[in-house]
């Protein structure tokens, strides 16, 4: 059973627009939700993360919105830049095992100038 679902698979936005990436999860005991980004040929790196005590987390142009009732969370990238073009992975952990991090399938974001 896929623990974390992510959409869309790919997304193209124009420079300056807001990109919205979506995820949902199965296990209601998950309590940590990070987003990682991966540039071509590189390893993933943590971008931003949220815990369910809050429904919003901001870091510069990056914002996570969290809906515990619907078990959904999203990443909004404001004022998108060509340098933001990468694959973004949402993830979730917690519950019975904090040492397992489940990743979504990834969204390939392209920001056109």
């Amino acid at each position: 059973q896929q623990q974390v679902r992510q959409s869309p698979q790919s997304l193209t936005v124009w420079e300056g627009e807001t990109a919205i990436l979506n995820c949902s999860y199965e296990d209601s005991t998950f309590d940590y939700f990070p987003w990682y980004h991966q540039f071509p040929g590189e390893s993933p790196a943590l971008l931003i993360a949220i815990r369910p005590v809050s429904n919003k987390k901001e870091d510069g142009r990056f914002t996570i919105f969290f809906n515990k009732r619907e078990k959904k969370f999203s990443l909004h990238i404001a004022d998108s830049q060509p340098g933001d073009s990468a694959t973004y992975f949402c993830a979730a952990s917690g519950g019975s095992n904090y040492n397992v991090l489940y990743f979504g399938s990834g969204t390939k974001l392209t920001v056109e100038p």
Partner: protein, 114 residues
């Protein structure tokens, strides 16, 4: 500063041959260590984790095994490779006690099985 080194950078192996991939973390004592597998263009699948020397937990069964012979070393291996083992193998570490929260990934090993 912490550094994580994976070896080799890339491997081309035949089906049925053995494999050993390695990972070393410097500058951090008693880290949690992880192995992830990523198919080309795919998601990240956690394979194993270890929170202490000599103890390794399996997350998924892919005919692979892992060992932690030293505090700073994590090894991934198999005696017989399958075509399905091709992909990108990533070692990662996190702070002891912090679970799989902030993961710091190595540069990875790209494996091609023919």
């Amino acid at each position: 500063a912490q550094t994580i080194h994976q070896w080799p950078v890339a491997e081309i192996k035949a089906v049925g041959s053995p494999l050993s991939l390695g990972c070393t973390i410097k500058g951090k004592s008693s880290p949690n260590l992880y192995w992830y597998w990523q198919a080309t263009g795919g998601t990240l699948q956690q394979l194993f984790y270890s929170i202490t020397v000599g103890q390794v937990e399996s997350v998924v069964q892919l005919n692979l095994s892992a060992s932690r012979p030293k505090d700073d070393q994590f090894i991934l291996s198999t005696e017989k490779l399958l075509l399905s083992h091709s992909g990108f193998y990533l070692c990662a570490w996190s702070l002891w006690g912090g679970g799989a929260e902030t993961l710091y990934f190595g540069s990875g090993t790209r494996l091609t099985v023919l």
